[in-house]
Amino acid sequence: MERQHNRDETKSRKNKLRLVFILFVSGLLVLTLYSNTLLTMNLTKVWTIVGRQEELVQSFNGSGMLEPVSEVSLSNKAGWTIKAVKVRAGGLVKKGQTLVVYESTEAENQYMDAKVQVEQQQLAIEGLQDRYIEAASSGDDTQLRSANRDLESARLTLDMQRRNLDTMKANLVSNRELKAPFDGIAMKVNAVEGLSSASAGPDVLVASSIQGYQFHVQVPATISGHFKIGRKLDVHIGQEDKATTVEGIVSGMENKESQVNIAVTVKNEQIRGGEQALLDLKFVSDKTSGILVPSSAIHKEGSETFVYIIEERKGPLGNTSHVRKMPVKTGDSNESETVVQQGIFPDSPIILQSSEPVVTDGERVRVMP
Amino acid sequence: MVLFRKIIRQHCVVAIGFLAPSVIGFSIFYLIPFAMGVRYSLMNRSNGGSFVGLANYKELLASDSFLKAAKNTFLFTSVSVPITIALSLLLALLLNQSIYFRNWLRTAYVLPLVLPVTSVVLIWQVLFDWNGAVNSWLHELGVSRIDWMKSEWARGVLSIVYAWKNIGYNIILFLAGLQNIPKDYYETAELEGAGAIRKFTRITLVYLTPKMFFVVLMGLISSFRIFRETYLIAGDYPHDSIYMLQHYMNNMFLSLDIQKLTSAAVIMVICLIVLVTGMFTLERRFTSDLD
């Protein structure tokens, strides 16, 4: 009886212990799941990307208005009235070709008058010579000196008048006609017959066809390295449907803060100036130069450039991911990507984005797929 | 006789079946490694070395640290194990009296066995540190403090921890032995006018001796295991007085001195074989005496 009682007691104690044991183990199981989940949930989430080992493609689009490189405004210097216009706007001109003929009658008359004056002066000199001879023969010393002075003065006047006459003649010849100074195009013709010269701007605007046309574009500093004076580029001219592609040459560069002004010169007979010129360029960097990384993953702090990568560490929970700050050397970049030349391995997972604004070196994080 | 042989032959086949899993695994993980160890101990290098006979052993026996470790192990085993056994026997005798809460007390004595090593180490530190609790109690009593772990006292501390952990197990074993001694032996002795001491030596001890073999074996095993705690509390190089063979072998492993390690291991095993054979012989003689 006693024994039976004892056995029952042991049995119930064992049942209790078994229950405690089961509760203990299942409690621990639940806690394990719970605490692991809790820990993982509280970690900063990061999204990563692996850099690509490809060439960096930098593209550039820019346009500008074509303008002649050199252009001269031609007008009549004396402001004469226009007699005839021999050129039309847009027309090709040859060097020396007459462009505008001016009314020169007035100038011719003045010239004739001046010529008459010279003749009159010669006559006057002849009279004075006679007086001089007379004075010499009279032996009057005073009269002789006076006659000599008058004669000299008259001769000087004659010289002056002759020079004037020459000038007038030259002016007359040059001003009578406006001639093209070089081969080119008459860009603008303001001259109107009957009006005086330069009444509405220069009579004729001539662009040199030898020096060609140029346009300006602004290039971001990041790709300006690809431009050099003398480098040849493809330039698209005109509207989309009937654009022609011609060769252009970089002819000038000028730094402006984060941008660079670049002048491209184009020579082509079709060009009349004023057309839209378009640059559509792609620069492909060397494949071996580095790893392509999204620019947003690259951080700068002072002079230091770095990326955050994920480092797998062996931990009690299996491998855990930790943040590691890696200083890098960067190269070229385009609007979205940058070449990292040194500092990371090609297969390093780089943190692109994180749920917290800041991640710190060594921090454990959760890497999102 | 013929029948007997037949039985043996029959049993042999069956035995192979029963033993196979154990023997295969046992050979792979214990026997063959030990044989390899013996071979290494006779070579000058473990990889492609040549046979050098007992040179490693000579070198080992000339090494101070080995001798120190061997001496400590021997001392600890030959002192702590018997003391612990004696203590357990005493407690078993007391427990075997008619007392209250016997089962509870028995459980309490066995419980230290289940305390995790970490706990042991933590409390060991708290108690026996230079600034530890034991020194603070001594201080209250006006005794100056003792650097327990960095003096000869370490051996004593180690023995206490060893006794504390293993006493309960031995008590259980002795209690069983005590309960198996027929009561009438004592009654007869009492009638013959024997005193308590005489009863103890003539009856109790005699009947407990067969148990001793087992108790000593278990005591040996656990005396080697105490290394774990010592290692955790004092690291690779504890105070000289508790620098055991296991420390020595462990350090040889870390410094990759395979020859010294294996030679030391072989010497230790030879000692064990001698010891166990001795115990066997003693026990056999004793049993035959008893009969």
Partner: protein, 290 residues
């Protein structure tokens, strides 16, 4: 009256001793309920060199049994805040479960052969097992390491589990117990025409329950606390059993150490209490014969 006095006196003596023996468990438990701060202030002198010359004559750790403030902070840390402990705890469970299951099965089979069968070389073979059982782990450290490397077991739990399964202790313990079962049982069954496998399954197994319980408890206690083998064979921290991790961290985090120890101790205590009667019977019986 005199008998009662004597009974009481011995009981008192034994109780006092029991309390002394249980003190470490008590300390572990009460200290695990202290706050990290309290633990810190109580024990920060451990390892510090103070002496009279430094004016630290009276400076000692403050060993207390009752917390100033009962707090579950350490338990929160161990069980919820840091999943490491629980994760490693399952490593321990995994390894120990396989070792125990394996060693019990393999050991029971071999023990039967050693105890109940007669064959040539039996006693010599058993002697080899016995010696191996006594060898400390360090004896076969190097060859074991090389062997594990050859078998591709390094840094894998199998490097711990497999040698554990084939440990000699189970064979020894069960053989001792089997010796106490009279051969007559086996012989009688044999006469009835039962094969050895049937005898083993139907007669032996049901009878060795206490020994199995004792073996399971002892193996559990031993392997639950293993430190050296995992330290040598496992490189990855996350594969270690909790016992290794606790022994590594206990220097810097004493408070957590106490809580973790208590929580680590619980399975052992529960198992022990559950199997106590069997355990005691098993230990006692296996110790009867030499």
């Amino acid at each position: 009256m005199k008998v009662v006095m004597k009974k009481g006196a011995i009981t008192l003596l034994l109780c006092l001793l029991a309390i002394l023996l249980l003190l470490p468990i008590l300390i572990s438990f009460t200290n695990s309920l202290m706050t990290e701060q309290e633990i810190g202030s109580n024990y920060d002198l451990i390892g510090a060199m103070t002496d009279a010359a430094n004016g630290g004559e009276d400076a000692f750790v403050n060993l207390k049994l009752i917390p100033d403030w009962v707090s579950f902070e350490q338990y929160y840390n161990v069980l919820i805040e840091t999943p490491t402990y629980l994760n490693l705890f399952w490593n321990s469970v995994y390894m120990v479960a396989f070792i125990i299951a394996g060693q019990v099965i393999v050991g029971a089979l071999a023990a039967y052969a050693f105890a109940k069968l007669r064959f040539r070389g039996r006693d010599q073979m058993f002697f080899v097992y016995l010696i191996t059982m006594l060898m400390p782990f360090q004896v076969t450290l190097v060859p074991n390491y090389i062997m594990a490397g050859k078998l591709g077991l390094l840094n894998s739990a199998n490097a711990i589990i497999l040698p554990g399964i084939f440990g000699a202790f189970g064979v020894f313990m069960l053989r001792q117990f089997l010796l106490s079962i009279p051969n007559a049982y086996v012989e009688a069954a044999h006469m009835d025409g039962a094969g050895h496998s049937r005898i083993f399954m139907q007669i032996i197994l049901p009878q060795i329950k206490p020994a199995l319980a004792a073996l399971i408890v002892l193996l559990f206690v031993d392997y639950w606390n293993m430190v050296e083998q995992p330290l040598i064979f496992l490189d990855d921290d996350f594969k270690q059993p909790l016992s290794v991790y606790l022994s590594v961290i206990q220097q810097e985090a004493r408070g957590v150490g106490f809580a973790a120890s208590v929580f680590y101790m619980l399975p052992m205590v529960l198992l022990f209490l559950y199997a106590e009667s069997y355990f005691i019977e098993g230990v006692q019986t296996s110790g009867i014969k030499g």
